[in-house]
Amino acid sequence: MTMLEVRDLHANVQGREILKGLTLTVNPGEVHAIMGPNGSGKSTLAHVLAGRPGYEVTQGQVIYQGRDLLTLSPEERAREGVFLAFQYPIEVPGVSNVYFLKAAANAIRKHRGLPELDAMDFLALCKEKAALVELPEELTRRAVNEGFSGGEKKRNEIFQMAVLDPALAVLDETDSGLDIDALRIVASGVNKLRSPQRAMILVTHYQRLLDYIVPDFVHVLADGRIVTSGGKELAQELEAKGYAWLEKEPAPAASR
């Protein structure tokens, strides 16, 4: 079954059309990179997929694992396996990272008909997954993202992804703000999470991330549409030439 099928998606934010007929197909096991100029709608796509209020779909369809994703509430989407690593992770004072994540993991497990994890099992799971992205244990005990450095926040997102074990992960600029070592560590964590059952959409501005996490497809999103798609070489081409040349290209097949 296809993991995700986005067909001719149009979406408004604050009454302004941001996505203008976006089409994209993602299969299990695939990693898709989405690149594109600032303000072109990459984060908007991520938020529409996650069901963020205020993002209004005016046309088109999103089919996730054979179901109409757009009719599900944000928490149902999450429980069904859709994960968004935020470009700007949110701070939640007073709520500890582990407590937050345990509530999330158990909400998802409950939805899947699995027994809830007790504190001991959960802490063991956390330890294992924190090691994957080398997240200092101290951070798991602190309030969610509160006072985390930019890089720590990004690392925390991937840590959460590892714990929650999603089917479809959308990583919105997880690489920005990471130092060179952290980028390598986070990328290797993400690579370990690649599996034939899981699909990932990486939003990024930099070819560098794609040296570590090699994508199966690269798409360029410009002005609310996918304007061109290709293999990993496309990213190198973009790095060399920028985005300007694309505007002269004919509409590519991928965006129909």
């Binding site: 994960f83 949110i90 004072p93």
Partner: protein, 479 residues
């Protein structure tokens, strides 16, 4: 999660709002010396008690209802209130639970309050006050073994008149304020607790108050005395049925902690808050104060989720050197609720120390005011105070206000004050939802996180109850 949904979330259903159908004896509405004489005679009180009431009444007649609190309500007609309501069957006060009307026991069971001693619940001794009368006190015998007296106030007046006379009104004098004077004139019952020198009370003591009858006020009086080196932890819970008219609750609580004694007083207040539009609900105008002698400690912890209006400042007079006062508070106002609450820490003795942690949560159209006074007297050298006032807002139609008053007359005092205001943001709620957690649960988790420092001061079972209560209070139809 839109702003609208946040507002929805802030509206709530009251779950303790049933009315118990029992025959009760009510004095007709109105207040006069005759009514006071009637109350006193119904309770079979000695002459001194009646005189004390009458002197309070005469003071009250000269006093004006306070206008300074940041709360708004229609004028109360004190002649329209009935000052005494008692379940008929317990006219002669029940000697044991077997004599208590089964319907009353049912009521308390519905509230989750075990009165039957055979249930031996977690070793908590309970006194239950239904309307104006104390209906049952549990574990009395066990307490007696160690010399602890825990009984209804009426019983204490009869059985332990010397103790009552010695301490009653020593912390909150009859003329203290309008509502305290009213209470002193007409109080009908309440709890009395006495822990003798050097005794550590072997169990938590607890009183549950419930207003049932319509058009009645509840005026209970609580007096707790811990002698030298004694320790007691006392819990208080309150509920009322849902009624369209407002009901007045004006209680007085006095705590006396002699040298080296410790009193921990915890309240979970869940009086009926009124409906979504602010109709009905309890007016909770309460005076609570404790006096600490040398090296004594009084700790107030309150979780205030109910009442249409709350006017309440549990305070400490730090009379003795090295005494300690603490105030930990969570006050939630949702819908049209208003709360003006806080504390007074009066430092008189040397090296006295006080801590204030106040957490105000406002939702819907709720208005939450913290009002606190820290006074360091001339002789209070080396006094220290730490105050922290945090406000959490849900939605944008509610309000949070803080009025910290500081009056320092000794230059060696050290004062620390911290304050913050935060808002539960839509982006925070979405973050939870994106991780699979519902909006309602998200608000719960954020609110509980916000209140953590206060909840940890509550006895275990109460902390759980308080957490659930906040959840229920904020529960609504999340769309």
């Amino acid at each position: 999660m839109s702003t609208d949904q946040l507002h929805e979330l802030a509206s709530r259903e009251y779950q303790a709002g049933f009315v118990t159908d029992i025959d009760s004896e009510t004095v007709p509405p109105g207040l006069s010396e005759d009514v006071i004489r009637l109350i006193s005679s119904k309770k079979g009180e000695p002459e001194w008690m009646l005189e004390w009431r009458l002197s309070a009444y005469r003071h009250w007649l000269q006093m004006k209802e306070p206008a300074w609190p940041n709360v708004h309500y229609p004028k109360i007609d004190y002649q329209a209130i009935s000052y005494y309501a008692a379940p008929k069957s317990s006219k002669d006060a029940p000697k044991s639970l077997d004599e208590v009307d089964p319907k009353l026991l049912e009521t308390y069971e519905k509230l989750g309050i075990p009165l039957r001693e055979r249930e031996k619940l977690a070793g908590i001794a309970v006194d239950a006050v239904f309307d104006s009368v104390s209906v049952a006190t549990t574990f009395k015998d066990k307490l007696k073994e160690v010399g602890v007296i825990f009984c209804s106030f009426s019983e204490a007046v009869k059985e332990h008149p010397d103790l009552v006379r010695k301490y009653l009104g020593t912390v909150v004098p009859v003329s203290d304020n309008f509502f305290a004077a009213l209470n002193s004139a007409v109080f009908t019952d309440g709890s009395f607790c006495y822990v003798p020198k050097g005794v550590r009370c072997p169990m938590e003591l607890s009183t549950y108050f419930r207003i049932n009858a319509a058009n009645t006020g509840q005026f209970e009086r609580t007096l707790i005395v811990a002698e030298e080196g004694a320790y007691v932890s006392y819990l208080e819970g309150c509920t009322a049925p849902m009624r369209d008219e407002n009901q007045l609750h004006a209680a007085v609580v006095e705590l006396v902690a002699l040298d080296d004694a410790q009193i921990k007083y915890s309240t979970v207040q869940n009086w009926y808050p009124g409906d979504k539009d602010g109709k009905g609900g309890i007016y909770n105008f309460v005076t609570k104060r404790g006096k600490c002698f040398a090296r004594a400690k009084i700790s107030w912890t309150q979780v205030e989720t109910g009442s249409a209006i709350t006017w309440k400042y549990p305070s400490c007079i730090l009379q003795g050197d090295d005494s300690v006062g603490e105030f930990y508070s969570v006050a939630l106002t949702a819908n049209r609720q208003q709360a003006d609450t806080g504390t007074k820490m009066i430092h008189v003795g040397k090296n006295t120390k006080s801590t204030i942690v106040s957490k105000g949560i406002s939702a819907g159209h709720g208005q939450n005011t913290y009002r606190g006074l820290v006074r360091i007297g001339k002789g209070a050298s080396g006094a220290r105070n730490y105050s922290q006032c945090d406000s959490l807002l849900l939605g944008d139609k509610c309000g949070a206000h803080t009025f910290p008053y500081i009056d320092v007359q000794n230059s060696t005092a050290r004062m620390e004050h911290e304050a913050s205001t935060s808002k539960i943001g839509e982006d925070q709620i979405f973050y939870f939802q994106q991780r699979g957690i519902s909006a309602e649960e998200a608000v719960n988790m954020i609110v509980n996180g916000f209140c953590k420092e206060v909840f940890k001061e509550l006895p275990m079972e109460f902390a759980v109850e308080a957490q659930k209560l906040l959840g229920v209070s904020l529960e609504g139809s999340v769309g």
